[in-house]
Symmetry: C2
Subunit: 365 residues, 2 copies
């Protein structure tokens, strides 16, 4: 373990975890089929539901966020089902691909990289395809730093058309408002290493009554991710498979901190922090990938100036200025860099990040 | 966090984790797509392979052991494939069920609870069913405390019949010898909370060249557990999805401790510890479920004396004697109790356990 100053970790997750939460990771093992764990899983689930703004089911999986996305699909759909996948980047593509691999008939509605989904286009797709059973949408696209207007999309999908709505909220829930029940989202996935301020390893999935109705006739194969097993075991306060105990301890503490701060304040803090990052990079003369109205409050994507090599830039920022930034993925590789600002970010970390970007670019000009 | 004496956790996993390993769980987050993690995953994988005694592929999943069992099946088989599932208890049944759910045509070869699989019967099943493509077997059945003779079974399955051999080694590898390459096991699953002395949350799967050949034509659907993604990403020292970093830190330390002790010594220690537990309970006049020749060196199942209620017995042992034992599962509920002795067990813990069993039974007589 290094005793030097910790790296300013500005990737879109894992996010930095505070010492008081990390300390919980070192607690002794307990029996996951005993009373102490029953109290823990019930209490953690209850508070996750508060933050999700749901009174319906929510289950905790020992998996990455991608596992929760797969769980949403395989527990509601059957091979041959028509699905509309709204994608605005790599994680939207991933959601579509999971559905395809399990045999769904997927129609893709794609936006240009950096743009959010247009609710009017969602409406016309649903008008044109009356057989569509479910709509997949990313709330916050981590690869581009774009937030979709899930509230408006949900109105169309749920109120106008009555379809299932499966949401990838991996990098949004807990940082950005998502009203699971009010908006009638049928399944919302998230993961512990995002705004929840815990290390990676647990994924969460809310699951509505309508999802359970769909589940009754869903024939996509599932075992590890079979939510019926999770539901059955949750009645005795257990998960079906051995859970990641240490992360339950950490999450217990992190949820306390979030709810003590108050979710209204947590959300407001993310808005303020994001604005500081956007202002900071624009003051350096840099251009943002996302349009102002859909810019994410958890991840900011910045267009790399002409002639700057992403790898060199990230290397200098990391090794000479202590700031770990993320590059672009797939089509955006070497075209953008990304700043993660989910969870706790101090003003010093913002200043240090902007300064690192400035000096790293200057060195490469 | 309690400051009282830690519970003597004698369930078959999670196993107690020593302070020096737990300390690693509290390390700061790093970039899982950076150099530091590349070194970590490469080093951890290399040492896992030493303990697995394999030079072939091995991948680390953010999942429970059940996830690795599912991974073995969905990456080698296709719906309609004929599979022979050798089961000697609840975890063998689980392996068979996963294959069935994903569409395999499963023939079950079942032994009485407490008995190990008979290699001769495996041979006759394979003679009778020439269409069998793969054989599933549990190395150490956690629900009964029985170890199957995988070496003899492997000889038949691999040398005599040339079938795929998928092994559930969840509660054996790292504690009990399993020679992955020598015995020609095509896939072996394990999980961090067993003999590896780390908390739960990571699962491991070795995967032979023959498994990769089977993979090329495998059509069972998979995404989160798609090993082709793991293989592709491992070339750049990354897993495809965000990994459980804290457990990689812990495992790094645990593997050091295991390899410094030497696997021969680790295995010998498990033999000795298991014998002490078996002797101890037999000296109390209790009967073991497993026959001597197949009794597990990681879990001991003890038959509950007539008239003793399992729940009451476990409650007294836990609350009055500080020892957390496990009950029986499914058909063995209220018929046996189980003692886990994987990983590190001190002589004091053995003495305390035997004494707790003695006094708890006396109180209930």
């Amino acid at each position: 373990m290094s005793t030097s100053k910790p790296t300013n970790l500005r990737i879109p997750g894992p996010t930095p975890v505070t010492p008081e939460i990390l300390k919980e990771m070192s607690r002794l093992m307990i029996n996951h089929r005993g009373e102490e764990f029953r109290h823990l899983i019930e209490s953690v689930t209850k508070r996750l539901k508060v933050i999700y703004e749901t009174n319906q089911d929510l289950h905790i999986l020992t998996a990455s966020g991608t596992g929760a996305m797969e769980t949403a699909i395989v527990n509601t759909l059957s091979p041959g089902d028509n699905v509309l996948a709204i994608t605005v980047g790599a994680f939207g593509d991933r959601f579509a691909k999971i559905a395809e691999i399990y045999g769904a008939d997927v129609t893709v509605l794609r936006s240009a990289l950096g743009e959010s989904a247009d609710p009017d286009k969602v409406m016309s797709e649903l008008n044109n395809n009356p057989n569509i059973k479910a709509v997949l949408v990313t709330h916050n696209e981590t690869s581009t730093g774009v937030t979709n207007d899930v509230e408006s999309i949900a109105k169309i999908v749920k109120q106008d058309f009555g379809k299932l709505l499966l949401v990838d909220g991996v990098s949004s829930v807990g940082s950005v408002p998502l009203k699971t029940d009010d908006w009638k989202c049928d399944a919302v996935a998230s993961a512990s290493q995002k705004g929840w301020m815990a290390p990676p390893g647990l994924a969460f999935l809310s699951f509505s009554l309508e999802s359970w109705k769909a589940n009754a006739s869903s024939t996509m194969p599932k075992f590890y991710f079979d939510l019926r097993e999770y539901k059955k075991y949750m009645e005795i306060g257990q998960p079906p498979w051995t859970p990641n105990l240490s992360l339950f301890f950490a999450l217990d503490k992190a949820l306390d901190l979030m709810l003590t701060e108050g979710m209204h304040n947590v959300h407001a803090r993310h808005v303020k922090t994001a604005q500081k990052f956007r202002d900071g990079v624009q003051e350096l003369g840099l251009e943002l990938l996302a349009k102002t109205e859909s810019a994410s409050n958890t991840i900011t994507s910045v267009i790399l100036p002409e002639g700057i090599d992403a790898k060199e830039f990230l290397y200098i920022a990391r090794t000479e200025h202590n700031v770990e930034l993320a590059g672009g993925q797939q089509a955006l590789a070497n075209k953008i860099f990304r700043i993660g600002h989910l969870g706790l970010v101090t003003d010093d970390e913002i200043t240090e990040t902007i300064s690192a970007i400035k000096h790293s670019l200057e060195k490469l000009k």
